[in-house]
């Protein structure tokens, strides 16, 4: 619209004139007459609209309304167009096609019976006046009515370039001094040097901190939900961030040692709430958050009874947090993702690592995106297989270890299938898989085959390749990731049939998903949007991209996992009745995770 205005060439064409003439019963309007009319009407319309903008400005609005046009007609001594006034803004819809663009008004047909029979519309709320302090003695208080006192951009600037803050202060003092000299006022050299002391929290903030921390780790579930809600949405928390982060770090340190699963879960949920708060920029506090979160992933024991408690969910949850942290706050200066990746790789390479930690490292890597999986997990599948094989097959092993091993196996299959499906050309040969992946080969083969049979649309493959290309480019640009040394030794796989059976029995929980892709329309529509969004987005999204485009059902699987995780968390400390209720709550949470 604005570009038309800029050139001033928005004019009614002569054809419209003819059509309008016909509509009032004047047939066969000559071209020249139509042109004259069009010119005249263009002029009149434009002057009316110019006048209407005056009414808009005086109404302190930014959008022109139909009433403005009426008023403008009135001052031109023209009868207004009665019946076209509208309280709301006209919901013009836009359509284009055949090189023509059209704004039109949707004219819905209403059934009079609905109007008569329907309930009365709600009364609009009355105008209310509400006072708050925009500033107290020159300082803007951090209340919900006020915008966050330090915008996220500013926090980012300050954390990435602390000098800018200093420069600003210096600038101010300098300015002060120059202007003082300019006025030749008696001046005293009072340059205030700000001491590097910890920022004092106001009494309200101290109270808030106390309440929040108690609620987060306390036993009242409703209060906890409120506390998380507050952490995730309240503006102006940035002053308390150092305290909150220290609280989390200390809490994790203590509880990991004492193997208290529940507090760890709460602390991780705190991290998640802080991460999702739009007004916070956590980069300055990563040195506390990253170790805490990683501890919750790779610690060898997180709960008192590893065989019974579902600490795997905590590891999964934390790994997603780490992935999100990397995605949001990775910069070339902090090299966050590189360092995290290296940490996990080293853990994978270490043979003495307990299986639980091994799982943590693996899940951490797998959350970091397709490229990371391709670079660091695929070469190690053989080693992973070797590692878990004795626990799964052998007898007389500790029960905990067997559970850990089977978790690792499931995870590997879950992570690898979408990638293998794309990278490897069908037909799949069991022997090839065994050759390449050793012990896990047959299981992978079975899963990939199943996945292939479920994918239907060929259109998606085109999308995938483009998405993959995009993510490739991104990773090439980073180029700092070094391949961890992968050693693969040949392993014989026994008990093949049981593995397949195992894999086959596993996906029962994916059942509701499998039906999804059978409706191709549904699949393709979200696919395209997903791709556009993610390719243009940050590079870290690449993993999700492929997941989303390649196999929409895996996104769902993924989410079902997420759903599962917190349920188990609740179950870990609560009763089984709680489980059902909380699952609903958490599901909604998951949707936001996916949307992120």
């Amino acid at each position: 619209m604005s570009e038309y205005e800029a050139t001033g060439s928005l004019n009614l064409p002569t054809e419209s004139m003819k059509i309008m003439a016909e509509s009032v019963g004047v047939a066969g309007l000559s071209d020249s007459a139509a042109k004259e009319l069009a010119d005249e009407i263009n002029f009149r319309l434009k002057t009316v609209i110019q006048d209407a903008t005056k009414f808009m400005h005086h109404g302190k609005r930014k959008r022109l309304s139909t009433m403005d046009i009426d008023h403008a007609l009135k001052i031109k001594n023209i009868e207004p167009l009665y019946g076209f006034s509208n309280q709301d803004h006209i919901p013009f819809r836009f359509a284009s096609g055949g090189g023509r663009e059209l704004h039109f008004l949707e004219d819905k047909e209403l059934d009079i019976a609905d109007i008569i029979g329907g309930s009365l519309p709600k009364l609009p709320l009355d105008v209310a006046l509400r006072a708050h302090w925009l500033s107290i003695d020159g300082i803007q208080p951090a209340v919900p009515e006020n915008p966050p006192s330090l915008s996220k951009d500013q926090q980012r600037l300050e954390s990435s370039d602390p000098v800018s803050k200093l420069a600003k202060i210096g600038d101010k003092t300098q300015k002060k001094s120059t202007t003082l000299t300019a006025t030749n006022k008696p001046k005293t050299e009072t340059v205030q040097v700000k001491q590097l002391t910890a920022h004092e929290l106001s009494v309200e903030q101290q109270l808030y901190y106390k309440e929040i921390t108690e609620a987060c780790v306390g036993s009242d579930e409703a209060r906890r939900a409120e506390a998380f809600q507050s952490l995730a949405s309240d503006p102006g928390l940035h002053q308390m961030l150092p305290r909150l982060c220290t609280f989390i770090a200390e809490g994790v340190r203590v509880n990991v040692v004492q193997n208290n699963l529940a507090p760890l879960i709460y602390l991780m949920r705190m991290v998640k709430a802080l991460l999702s708060n739009q007004t916070l920029y956590l980069e300055k506090y990563l040195h506390e958050l990253v170790p805490a979160v990683t501890s919750c992933m790779v610690s060898k024991q997180l709960c008192l009874r590893p065989e019974v408690d579902n600490h795997w969910a905590l590891r999964d949850f934390s790994s997603r947090l780490i992935a999100q942290i990397c995605k949001n706050y990775h910069t070339t200066t902090n090299n966050c993702q590189t360092r995290v990746t290296r940490l996990f790789c080293r853990a994978l390479a270490n043979d003495k690592m307990p299986l639980a930690s091994f799982y943590g490292a693996l899940v951490g890597l797998s959350e970091l995106g397709t490229e990371v999986i391709k670079a660091f997990i695929i070469p190690k599948i053989r080693a992973i297989g070797e590692r878990i094989e004795p626990y799964l097959d052998g007898t007389g092993q500790a029960n905990a270890d067997r559970i850990a091993a089977s978790h690792i196996k499931q995870l590997t299959i879950k992570v690898m299938v979408p990638i293998l499906k794309v990278t490897r050309q069908p037909p799949d040969n069991v022997d090839d898989y065994r050759q390449e992946f050793g012990y896990l080969g047959p299981a992978l083969h079975g899963a990939v085959n199943r996945a292939r049979s479920q994918t239907t649309t060929t259109a998606s493959s085109g999308v995938i390749s483009s998405a993959a290309a995009g993510s490739l480019g991104l990773s090439a640009g980073r180029g700092t990731i070094v391949m961890g040394g992968a050693s693969g030794s040949a392993t014989t796989s026994r008990n093949q049939s049981s593995v397949v059976a195992n894999a086959a029995s596993n996906p029962t929980k994916y059942m509701f998903v499998t039906s999804r892709p059978s409706t191709p329309v549904q699949v393709t529509a979200p696919q395209t949007t997903q791709v556009v969004k993610l390719v243009s987005g940050a590079g870290q999204a690449s993993k999700q991209t492929v997941m989303a485009t390649n196999q929409p059902k895996y996104v769902m699987v993924n989410s079902s996992q997420i759903v599962r995780a917190p349920i188990k968390m609740e179950g870990a400390e609560g009763t089984s009745e709680v489980k059902m209720e909380s699952s609903v709550v958490i599901k909604t949470e998951n949707i936001t995770i996916l949307d992120d």
């Binding site: 205005e5 050139t7 001033g8 010119d39 005249e40 263009n42 002029f43 434009k46 002057t47 110019q50 005056k54 009414f55 400005h57 005086h58 109404g59 302190k60 609005r61 930014k62 959008r63 309304s65 009433m67 008023h71 001052i75 609009p124 709320l125 009355d126 105008v127 209310a128 006046l129 509400r130 006072a131 708050h132 302090w133 925009l134 500033s135 107290i136 003695d137 020159g138 803007q140 009515e145 006020n146 915008p147 101010k172 300015k175 002060k176 120059t178 202007t179 300019a182 006025t183």
Partner: protein, 696 residues
């Protein structure tokens, strides 16, 4: 003679707008001559002829005859004048755009002038470039007039982007005119045709220009400059780019220096002595009140208050404008104000004011104006659905007067008669006033909080009683929407402005305006009374600010520099300065003594909505529809702009334009979440109140 010829059609035009009916006719004439009667010698026979012609054209025979009789004009004399008039109008309307045979000559002429500007010395370049815009517009109009439509639109397309940004909006309007017939009804056209575009130039620049015109034999350019430009020449060094830009931008060019020569009394009126004695009495009478020490109060009094007591050399004589006598209730109010003032917080860079923000909820895009009353106890809001709401901001509820029969029972001698006559049963925190039939564009409280004025799209101004909560008077005079109305700080008088390009001064007990201030070239959007009530400032869509003398009715200051519609005005506490804000997102500060621009305060990103000076005149607050409030160090602003070092030739002194200085003057900036700020107000104790509607 030439001048008056040019002005005539304009006069007729503005008259045509102001006259809705016959009976207003006489008032217009008398206003133009500053209250003199018709038989005065001063009435130009040409003016009369113009009026008569207008009357005849509109078939107002009775008035025409009456006017003839009254003016004792002889018929033949009239005929002469009329012939002359018709003749002059014809020449003015038609032949001012002479036909140039070749439409392409314009393009060539424009190009050659542009080349000349580009190649001239840097010293002269900026002043010479001022001619480009009027030259361009007049050339375009000439082409249209001579039916070279295609060439004209090409000309427009090719050169309109050369023009300054702030002219683009006008150019858009000009470009709508694509036919000779369109020229007739267009307001903008009439402005260009009838008025002269003022260009200020140094003598040297002017001689350079003259030499160019003579050497190159530029007849077209010469014509335009002679016909439509007024060159305001001054001795001295040509101005630089910043100086030129700071005052350019108005529809009629720059302010003519001659206009701003009149002396104006910008000082404050002497406060009546009576109040001091009342203060003492009151203090004696209530020694125990609040445990204050009344004796200490006197020496502690503000310097500003003391100054008020002395007579200001710049203050107008007290008898200059008749003001209503103080009633007892006014005196009590003054005492209250003084007592409040003594508790005032001294503001400065180190002690910023607190801001209390009133957010109006559930009314996105329907609130058209918000206004606080002087003592901050009431808030009025006008809505686009024609209603007016008044809130009480203090615990006292809004009460209506008792019905007449009950009032009769009250003892009139009682101390608390004012309290007794109010009906407690009617107490509410918010009252609605119904009456207008169009959006309410402004509201203004009288200083005693008993009256409220409102102006609306329905072209009326209504006076409401805040005691009976009814409409008392409907003032009909404007025939187009009234954009703004404002009570005088002393009550009784009020002033209104509107789409009809006039500002009017009214008294509450007259149903017709006392003065009509005509002179703006477009809508007058905002009006503000000087603290001494003797002057009225108006801001207009022609991007100029004018100051009018309420006594003589003359325009005494014309200030140009805004690049968009002026949307807010505010006088400084001491009456010397005027701040204006506009749709161009600028806040400009003017020195009324000479009409000079002192400072240009940037930083807002949308139309400026409101301006306010703290009660002690140290802090200046600006607000904008972008939802932010900024505070400025006004004390230093005036301190640093060398007020005494005033250039006699009428230049603006160097602006406080160096960005670091301006930045250091800004004390703070407070954003809101999603609330465009619509109104600002400092309470008597220097708390800043702000209001706006939530748009989230």
């Amino acid at each position: 003679m030439e001048y008056s010829m040019n002005q005539l059609p304009q006069a007729i035009n503005s008259d045509a707008k102001t006259q809705s009916s016959e009976n207003q006719n006489s008032e217009v004439v008398s206003d133009n001559s500053g209250g003199q009667t018709l038989d005065s010698e001063n009435v130009d026979s040409n003016t009369l002829a113009a009026v008569l012609q207008f009357l005849q054209k509109h078939n107002l025979k009775g008035t025409a005859d009456a006017l003839k009789k009254e003016a004792r004009l002889k018929e033949d004399q009239l005929r002469d004048a009329q012939a002359l008039q018709v003749d002059s109008e014809a020449t003015n309307l038609l032949s001012s755009y002479k036909s140039e045979g070749d439409p392409n000559a314009y393009e060539k002429a424009y190009l050659s002038y542009r080349r000349f500007v580009e190649s001239s010395l840097d010293v002269y370049k900026h002043e010479l470039s001022l001619v480009l815009y009027p030259l361009f517009v007049h050339m375009y109009l000439e082409m249209i007039y001579n039916n070279h439509e295609n060439e004209a639109s090409k000309f427009m397309e090719r050169f309109s982007i050369d023009q300054e940004d702030y002219y683009q909006e006008d150019l858009k309007k000009v470009s709508f005119i694509t036919k000779k017939e369109h020229m007739k009804g267009s307001d903008l056209m009439e402005n260009f045709k009838s008025s002269q575009f003022t260009v200020r130039m140094s003598r040297d620049t002017y001689s350079v220009l003259k030499r160019f015109l003579q050497d190159k034999n530029q007849s077209i350019v010469m014509n335009v400059i002679q016909e439509h430009l007024y060159v305001d020449m001054y001795e001295g060094v040509p101005r630089n780019k910043a100086q030129v830009e700071s005052t350019a931008g108005a529809m009629e060019g720059e302010a003519n220096r001659q206009v701003n020569k009149t002396k104006i009394y910008y000082g404050l009126l002497k406060e009546p002595d009576i109040q001091l004695s009342v203060v003492e009495e009151e203090e004696d009478g209530e020694p125990g009140e609040g445990g204050e020490k009344p004796k200490k109060k006197k020496p502690k009094k503000d310097p500003l208050l003391n100054k008020k007591a002395k007579s200001d050399p710049n203050a107008p004589p007290a008898s200059r404008l008749p003001l209503p006598d103080l009633r007892d209730i006014d005196k009590l109010e003054k005492v209250r104000a003084l007592r409040e003032a003594s508790k005032r917080v001294a503001l400065g860079p180190d002690s910023l004011p607190s801001i209390c923000f009133y957010t109006m909820l559930n009314c996105a895009e329907t609130v058209t104006c918000v206004e606080f009353c002087e003592d901050s106890s009431l808030l009025a809001a006008g809505f686009s659905d024609s209603i007016l709401k008044v809130w009480s901001l203090v615990p006292q509820k809004l009460r209506a007067m008792k019905p007449a029969e009950q009032l009769a029972d009250i003892d009139k001698e009682a101390e608390d008669v004012l309290v007794r006559m109010m009906d407690d049963k009617t107490g509410e925190t918010m009252k609605v006033l119904y009456g207008h039939c169009g959006p309410v564009y402004s509201a203004s409280f009288s200083h005693d909080r008993t009256l409220l004025l409102s102006s609306s799209e329905d072209a009326t101004i209504r006076l409401w009683s805040l005691q009976t909560w009814t409409c008392l008077v409907v003032y009909k005079g404007h025939i187009y929407p009234v954009w703004d109305v404002r009570f005088s700080p002393h009550g009784y008088y009020f002033s209104s402005v509107g789409h009809d390009r006039t500002a009017r001064l009214w008294a509450t007990d007259h149903h017709q305006p006392l003065r009509i201030f005509a002179g703006h070239y477009s809508d007058v959007d905002v009006v503000q009374f000087h603290p001494n009530s003797n002057y009225v400032a108006t801001g207009s869509s022609d991007r100029s600010v004018r100051l009018w003398d309420c006594v003589s009715g003359n325009c005494v200051r014309l200030m140009t520099g805004h690049k968009g519609t002026v949307s807010a005005l505010c006088f400084s506490t001491d009456g010397r300065f005027l701040a204006s804000g506009g749709a161009d997102q600028k806040v400009l500060l003017w020195d009324l003594a000479h009409g000079h621009l002192l400072a240009d305060l940037p930083g807002h990103t949308m139309t400026i909505s409101s301006l306010a000076f703290s009660r002690d005149g140290t802090v200046f607050a600006t607000s904008s529809l972008d939802g932010s409030i900024q505070l400025w160090d006004f004390f230093r602003m005036t301190d640093e702009s060398s007020l005494e070092d005033v250039n006699i030739s009428g230049h603006n002194p160097d602006l406080l334009k160096r960005s670091n200085v301006i930045e250091s003057l800004r004390l703070a900036r407070y954003p809101t979440k999603a609330t465009p700020v619509m109104s600002l107000h400092f309470t008597r104790r220097n708390l800043l109140l702000a209001a706006g509607m939530f748009e989230g």
